[in-house]
Symmetry: C2
Subunit: 543 residues, 2 copies
């Protein structure tokens, strides 16, 4: 499989295929807080959008030999290796003497001077493969001047003209800060970003989708479809499936559009409606009871990983718990004593919510904090919390004669299964194009830009590659009590087409069994199977 | 995907393609206990093996119109729909007037007279799809004369000449009992079995593999490969992955051969060596420490679902717990009181084992019994049990200066993800051939036979289809205190080639990172990717 797949030649947009020339647009401004952003980024603010278009003659720029560095930052996403191979092929096409260096285990590799040269032998081994193992990834944040200076040393030592940082919203914000710093200090070193994250929350007018979202969602949808088929064959289980994706519910929503489960919870809607945990439970229990009336004691519930923090009452409870536990006034370490102590301290409203939680989850909420003193949401088994509470509710409904049926639950959490899948044809092509685009941005002397590819629902040769100034996507937000420039995170828009499509069908999907079984990602075969985009992208880009 | 896949035409053995004739072998005898088996099955004992071979002229038999019934029994396995479509096409080829009836929700449909006629419209919707949802499955055991008689009524009413039962070892044993009964009572109704189970434990000299094993293992291996890639990119987690497969470790072993994880536990070896739970934990902890020395604080451990019952000391503990809890002498329902009560009652050896278990698992072991009074093994989270105990052991080793590193674990359990996957090309072809083979066995007037296909590592047109008398596979075993005729379950043979291949490499896989990432099942594309058999089958059939 790996051998056969290595031979795949990713498709490129027309604008990146032959001789490339750069078309510059109008100056840009940031999405909000223009004055503050401009003050913080005097050198990289207001740059124009750029697009690469085919040209009759070879460009003059970028012919000088140059070295380039690349960094993988944060969680894995399918296609990272293709960005790197696109970047490699791109700079080699400009000049075969150009070299590509990979910094090891994330941004920390730049600071600590850990790197390897990426030669064609290495690159060829990783073409069209999943994972970030070619150079590893890491979560070190590039924020301090001392880091920038330490990086500068090794960049100068290796004669590196530009660094490409492949990362999510935070990493690209940091890339922009670094670009500004290197420009302000006249180092001559360029910094280019690349939009990566399976979570789908790095997108806006310029970025149609972040890479990896396509493959990860299709991998999860394969599994959800298989479980749906199992549920519909055995007809005896409700499956509660939690899906990775940090805060935003893009992954859960996309998987729902692909597999048509009975229920999909969308955190953003829960927050907007101000629903309580009990409201969510009651809704699920009602759906279970309604299906049981038709003799269907089975179903599928999709749950976004970040749900718990979007339930307003739980969010308030967690905030008070964080404060109380930070005070360390309580003596005992045993969960039972800690919970008793907390019950005496919590405000009346939060105490009521706290008491309504099953014991195991009360313990999870009061367990070890993360380094910032926050509860570790990913450790909370929301899927089990919900199914236990649904079981309780159904018991009560049965006693009241409102439910006749059997309820048995199975639980799943999908995350690590999809982050490192081999990229779909879409992600393979998209990422490779991003890499080539980054090489052209470097050749054109750009810095503080993110490589982009647009028009991605058309066939690949009609895609439009280019760059967007990162400052254009910044606004000011509070982080750890201080206002910071950050790329605005894209949550699911309840007025957007993907959610509206879901909302238009969910009552039917809830009551009836409308499952769709997408099957595994296919790399060879009919184009309508192999080159399909996500439903989210298709709907968002549809007129 | 489903639309495109529906067009796939499964490959057939040469012997089933055109005019078919039957070649009969010598009379057979059962694998053991010949006298008892012969006494229990006087009419179906000793029948010859049969093989279908191409013929110059059309056969005379099977030209009379006939109706056939089909039943799906037990857990889902990929390819069930293809057995049914092969059977449908097979009987329609014999005579277009022939009809196929499907009994609903398992053997219970025969007893309760619940059925539908399977027309070409229905069949076409399910070709090459996963799941058993075409007619549903169930776990009713056909054992009582009253069930046989009730079934007889509906079979006569529908004019059904033969019933095909698609199931595992127990279902096929019951198919044989039913065949004997219908023959002894001169009903004229034939019964044919089909070897199904993802667990891989229904195989012997005649049955090279049970259907569904190929697809399920490949689906799990896709996920394990993705997680390996993630582990090797993030380099910070040990993943403990439990794999479905009841008692036998075939699935875990096959997945290990496909993905080369650091550790794969094989229950049959644990039992043979008489290892304790602590032995297993110590071995894993040592591997973690050895890898940490090389700076590798990550790894993959595969755990077969049935492990806990193969650890002799735990097996003894469970037996005593079952007896004690059945006595119901203890008053309290709270787990803490129950555990205290048990500590006072258990024999010294078992009490020691019991006390060594983490609290959560002691509770799981003493939780609700199944209807037979046994602990529900599938509810025991072996993957978490092992990782917790490994963490404890490593803490101790660290204190002794024998371990330097960080240990963090993630847990997974794969089962429902694979049972209903769309069948691989192998399973699609194999199952379709089994279905056609069953239709020819019916046409030839056979009963008490299982449809088989052999030589399955050769290209499909060289496969050999035929039938094996089920009595040939029977022996006497104790079930619920009584001796019963049953098909001998195939466990992993420690002297067999698959295990030896694993054993020859595991030390290298443990120490180094030798992961293989098989990727998702491919239906189109290079034949070496799409038509690969399992490693287990390849090794077992290799000379």
């Amino acid at each position: 499989m790996q051998v056969a797949r290595a031979a795949y030649q990713p498709k490129l947009p027309q604008g990146l295929k032959g001789n490339v020339t750069l078309k510059e647009g109008e100056p840009t401004q940031s999405v909000a807080d223009q004055e503050e952003i401009k003050a913080l980024f005097p050198n990289t603010y207001g740059l124009p959008l750029v697009e690469f278009v085919p040209s009759d003659k070879a460009s003059e720029s970028g012919k000088e030999p140059m070295n380039v560095g690349v960094i993988l930052s944060g969680g894995q996403a399918p296609g990272g290796h293709n960005v790197i191979s696109g970047l490699f092929d791109g700079i080699k096409r400009l000049n075969p003497a150009n070299k590509l260096y990979g910094f090891l285990l994330g941004p920390g590799g730049l600071v600590d001077h850990k790197y390897i040269e990426l030669t064609s032998d290495i690159i060829d081994e990783y073409r069209n493969t999943g994972g970030f193992d070619i150079i590893g990834s890491g979560r070190t944040k590039l924020e301090e001047e001392s880091q920038f200076e330490s990086g500068l040393e090794i960049l100068r030592e290796l004669g590196i003209k530009a660094v490409v940082i492949i990362g999510g919203d935070d990493s690209n914000t940091n890339a922009c800060v670094l670009a500004e710093y290197y420009l302000a200090h006249k180092t001559g070193i360029q910094v280019i970003g690349c939009p990566k994250t399976i979570d789908g929350d790095l997108k806006n007018d310029q970025i149609e989708t972040s890479f990896g979202f396509d493959t990860a969602c299709k991998t999860y949808s394969e599994l959800i479809g298989n479980i749906e088929r199992d549920a519909n064959s055995a007809k005896k289980y409700w499956h509660f499936i939690k899906l990775m994706g940090r805060s935003a519910s893009h992954i859960a929503l996309e998987c729902a559009l692909e597999t048509q489960p009975n229920i999909c919870i969308v955190s953003e809607e829960v927050q907007q409606k101000g629903e309580t945990l009990q409201d969510i439970v009651d809704n699920i229990a009602q759906a279970v009871a309604d299906r049981a009336k038709d003799g269907n004691n089975f179903g599928i519930v999709l749950i976004p990983e970040g749900l718990i923090e979007f339930i307003p009452s739980i969010e308030k409870l967690i905030a008070e718990l964080n404060d109380l536990l930070a005070s360390k006034e309580y003596a005992a370490d045993a969960p039972a004593d800690r919970i008793e102590w907390l019950n005496g301290k919590l405000s009346a409203a939060n105490a009521e919510v706290f008491k309504s939680l099953p014991r195991a989850f009360a313990e999870q909420l009061t367990g070890e904090r993360d380094p910032h003193g926050n509860v570790q949401v990913s450790l909370i088994e929301t899927e089990k919390l919900l199914s236990q509470m649904v079981a309780e509710k159904l018991k009560q409904m049965k006693a009241e004669g409102k439910y006749v049926g059997k309820f048995a639950a199975q639980h799943h959490f999908f995350g690590y299964e999809g982050r490192c899948a081999a990229p779909s044809n879409f992600d393979a092509d998209y990422c490779y194009s991003l890499g080539v685009s980054a090489s052209e941005l470097i050749a054109a002397g750009k810095t503080g830009y993110m490589a982009i590819v647009k028009n991605t629902t058309a066939p690949a040769d009609q895609w439009k590659a280019g760059g967007v100034p990162i400052t254009m996507m910044l606004n000011m937000e509070k982080r750890n009590g201080k206002m910071k420039p950050v790329i605005r995170k894209a949550l699911v828009e309840l007025g957007g087409k993907p959610f509206k499509e879901f909302a238009a069908h969910r009552e039917e999907w809830k009551k009836h069994t409308c499952y769709v079984y997408p099957g595994p990602i296919q790399y060879w075969g009919p184009t309508e199977v192999c080159d399909k985009t996500t439903e989210t992208l298709r709907l968002e880009q549809s007129k």
